[in-house]
């Protein structure tokens, strides 16, 4: 698709003026390049989720269960009672429009139904029709139905829901600006729960979820292969540094269990971030005797269950605590990931806690108590590394990153669902000299999504992804032109994959790096040889000549 739609053509289409007429009257056109393929029946079956079947969003017949309207009605009713967010957010929107131009998908497509308020209204209109007194009173007056702003649940409405709730990455940027804190992510989450009751998930979510459940990670990497992959990285690292970093697996009695998204294990450039972790753990083991283990069972930090339903999220997440308990570690360390950290920070302890079998996390090297994680007992790796650097426990050679002119992309989930803003910046500034921020409206709590979050980083919806990523790319392009930025730092596995594609499309001169890749480059391992290349096997600054 990206071959067909050139950036210029995409930019030409952007127009923020909605068409005339009422949004309720138009029927949805599901456009290729903008939607993801339907979930495979077998993936839906793995988790025993209902209505597994083969279906195609482009066909008229979605093969829904006969009572699908009743299922939706009951599902909404149940969720109104179970989630105050949902109930309040259905009721209190005044349609002031403050959120309208805050969504990256709206800014990139100009499609008015990508305004967060209208995305929510898609569902709210049915809620009003089915559940509010005002609509029920108005319905008694002739023509009153139109005044109520409600509409009945029809197949067209369902298709429109499906199309647009899979054009929301649950990034929460709109909720920063909403005067009542209405969070479209909550509404999208409810809509997707409803889709799953009808067997309407997308495959890019359903299959990773199925793999994760059975095999432990999204790609379905089996235990021996997982070990092979990390050992392969160890070989690469040995070639570069002369040190064997010896990753440990499923080790009982280790100090710390480390869990990161499996994207770091199989997809460039996350693999280099993964090598950064391996180098850090080796350094800590040799210098301070810290014992870190990986797990093949809990080998996925990411949780596409979060994009399926609360229940599925809990089922996948359960492995983290289960494995920590089985291995008898003191606490858990989590790698760089966005939604993984939203789940850990705001959901894990509630769903699968209390983690009373773990210790309150203390960094044994610095003595720092991670007070902010004392109940959940899981620490973010940039919190951990920032603490080590602050206490002077890492020997770093910044000059190895001297050719990296950096900017930093705050991930939606860690910024708006956690507030992890300074930790990664502190790490970056200690491993790299050249750091420039993007414009303030595009970073920190106002950061723009990569356009591919919440399970939308598939191949078939590339047009949607490139449009949705435009605001992010546009800000990167700005610092690229102004300061010569050539490196976009991230702390998210989906970002590392998605932003690479996005940069190739919009700002090809910029490469995407995980923060711990930079740490891995800078960290001086005990007994290492003189490095000539960085982890990407490209010559280090000052070594270019010797390479020729």
């Amino acid at each position: 698709m990206s071959d067909e739609l050139k950036p210029d053509a995409l930019l030409d289409r952007i127009d923020y003026t909605p068409a005339a007429g009422s949004w309720m009257d138009s029927t949805v056109q599901i456009m290729p390049g903008m939607y993801c393929y339907a979930a495979k029946a077998e993936s839906v079956e793995t988790l025993g989720l209902p209505n597994a079947r083969t279906w195609n969003p482009l066909e008229d017949d979605w093969k829904l269960p006969e009572n699908w309207q009743e299922i939706i009605h009951n599902a909404i009713k149940e969720r109104l009672e179970k989630f105050r967010t949902f109930k309040v957010f259905m009721d209190i929107c005044v349609r002031c429009g403050a959120c309208a131009d805050k969504c990256h998908f709206f800014l990139g497509t100009g499609d008015p139904k990508n305004m967060p308020v209208l995305r929510a209204e898609l569902l709210r209109s049915v809620y009003r029709n089915d559940f509010t007194k005002a609509a029920q009173i108005l319905k008694m007056i002739p023509g009153g139905e139109k005044l109520s702003g409600g509409r009945p649940m029809t197949l067209d409405v369902l298709k429109e829901w499906w199309y647009y709730f899979f054009q929301c990455t649950e990034c929460r940027r709109c909720s920063v600006f909403c005067p009542y804190g209405i969070d479209t992510a909550e509404i999208t989450i409810m809509a997707r729960e409803i889709f799953n009751l009808l067997g309407l998930n997308i495959d890019w979510i359903a299959t990773p979820v199925s793999n994760c459940y059975k095999t432990g990670n999204h790609l379905g990497i089996q235990p021996h292969a997982f070990k092979d992959m990390l050992e392969f990285f160890a070989e690469d690292i040995e070639e570069i540094t002369g040190v064997n970093v010896e990753p440990q697996f499923n080790k009982k009695g280790a100090d710390i269990l480390f869990i990161t998204p499996s994207g770091d294990v199989f997809a460039d450039p996350g693999t280099y971030t993964c090598q950064g972790y391996l180098i850090l753990f080796k350094y800590l083991k040799d210098k301070y005797g810290l014992d870190v283990t990986w797990s093949t069972y809990a080998s996925e930090g990411g949780n596409f269950g979060f994009f399926t339903s609360h229940e599925t999220m809990k089922r996948l997440n359960s492995k983290m605590y289960a494995e920590a308990r089985r291995l008898g570690v003191k606490w858990i360390l989590g790698g760089e990931c966005g939604h993984m950290w939203r789940v850990i920070h705001q959901y894990m302890d509630t769903m699968n806690g209390p983690a009373d079998f773990l210790e309150e996390p203390v960094n044994p090297i610095t003595g720092t108590k991670f007070e902010n994680a004392k109940s959940t007992k899981m620490v973010h790796i940039t919190e951990f590394t920032a603490d080590l650097i602050k206490h002077g426990k890492l020997e770093l050679d910044k000059s190895r990153n001297a050719n990296r002119i950096m900017t930093f992309h705050d991930s939606c989930n860690t910024s708006r669902g956690m507030g992890l803003l300074e930790e990664p910046r502190y790490v970056i500034q200690n491993v790299c000299d050249n750091f420039f921020e993007m414009p303030p409206n595009t970073i920190r709590e106002q950061t723009f999504c990569c356009g591919s979050g919440s399970g939308l980083n598939a191949g078939e919806n590339i047009e949607l992804r490139m449009a949705g990523g435009l605001p992010r790319a546009n800000a990167v392009k700005y610092v690229h032109e102004k300061f010569g930025v050539n490196t976009l730092g991230t702390i998210c596995a989906i970002d590392r994959a998605a932003l690479s594609t996005l940069m190739e499309y919009w700002v090809p001169e910029v490469q995407v790096y995980g923060i711990h890749e930079l740490v891995g480059n800078a960290l001086i391992l005990p007994g290492e040889k003189e490095r000539e290349t960085d982890l990407r096997l490209e010559p280090l600054p000052g070594m270019e000549d010797e390479d020729e």
Partner: protein
């Protein structure tokens, strides 16, 4: 003509005429002056309490504040205690700022895309909605408080002081109350925005125009009575004191315009709980704003948390045991 706003406009006109004609023509003062206001107040209180209780009865399964600043983490990293509070005190301040100063709306920006050689997306600070909203709400609040003088005898000194401040700009007689004019101007601004801003117009429903027209009608009739038709103020006070002391009276010499004002206010009250106006109550219960971001430090309990099917390590090892042993991975059971 757009029926999304023409119908609500017509509806408000109809209300006006109904009361005016009902009083002037049919002499239904008792109905518009006594029955309707009492019913409206009952509907308001019952509806408001019901709505809030309805929200409060829904569970809060997860602690999911929207964080708008640095979290509390390492001791040397400065936390943003208000936009990312980890304590009740920070949440309290965050809520105060939200409720009284519309802090989130204050952040509002306007995005623009310039299709030229740079193709730049730009974001500029957009303060007008915030100013308009603040003027509207505070104008309304002062008007509302000022009206308490009709329901109290004697009028407390604090109210008299408020009137003094509100009437600080003196042009002719009777003295001008700024609040009423601010309210009317702000409501007209918000209406103009709804009609002429294409995006806002596109998302607006009849339910967005109706309360605006109603409030504009209330403000306009109020202003007309005070400055132009010079309503019999002693008669009005006699009437309102009658309502509030449950000894309703219909004073002579108070005309249709007043009852039109009262009907529109009554409709606003009755309409309030079944409409978006409930944002006034909802903001207090919005979980993305009223919760502390300390979920990792302090466990939040989900009242309906239930056990789920999981894929256990034992099942996993049973599935992969041979491969694990072959790869030299430790296993719990050798066979």
């Amino acid at each position: 003509m757009n029926q999304k706003y023409m119908l609500p406009l017509a509806g408000v006109f109809l209300l006006f005429l109904l009361a005016y004609a009902g009083v002037e023509g049919a002499g239904l003062q008792w109905f518009f002056g006594i029955v309707i206001p009492y019913l409206a107040v009952i509907a308001f209180i019952w509806g408001f309490v019901n709505r809030v209780m309805g929200w409060a009865s829904s569970a809060v399964p997860f602690r999911i504040p929207t964080t708008c600043g640095q979290q509390k983490s390492l001791p040397w990293i400065k936390q943003n205690c208000i936009d990312n509070p980890d304590k009740a005190s920070g949440v309290f301040i965050r809520m105060l700022l939200e409720i009284f100063l519309f802090r989130s709306l204050f952040r509002n920006t306007k995005a623009a895309f310039n299709r030229d050689e740079n193709n730049r997306l730009t974001y500029s600070w957009e303060i007008f909605l915030w100013v308009g909203a603040l003027a509207f709400h505070y104008g309304f609040l002062v008007v509302l408080i000022r009206h308490l003088r009709f329901f109290m005898e004697p009028v407390p000194a604090s109210l008299a002081f408020l009137e003094y401040v509100d009437g600080i700009v003196q042009i002719g007689l009777p003295g001008i109350f700024l609040s009423g004019l601010v309210l009317l101007a702000a409501a007209l601004f918000l209406l103009a925005r709804r009609i002429f801003d294409v995006k806002v117009s596109y998302i607006s429903l009849a339910a967005d125009y109706f309360p605006l027209f109603l409030i504009i009608g209330i403000a306009a009739t109020g202003i007309a009575m005070r400055y132009f038709t010079k309503v019999d103020i002693t008669g009005v006070k006699e009437f309102t004191m009658g309502l509030v002391t449950f000894h309703p009276v219909i004073p002579p010499g108070v005309g249709g315009l007043f009852y039109a004002h009262v009907l529109m206010v009554s409709v606003l009250f009755a309409y309030f709980p079944v409409s978006k106006l409930m944002h006034a109550g909802g903001i207090f219960l919005s979980p993305t704003r009223n919760m502390a971001n300390n979920t990792r430090a302090k466990r939040h309990v989900n009242p309906w948390n239930y056990a789920v099917d999981v894929h256990t390590y034992e099942q996993y090892e049973d599935h992969f045991r041979d491969k694990m042993i072959e790869a030299g991975l430790p296993v719990d059971k050798e066979e």
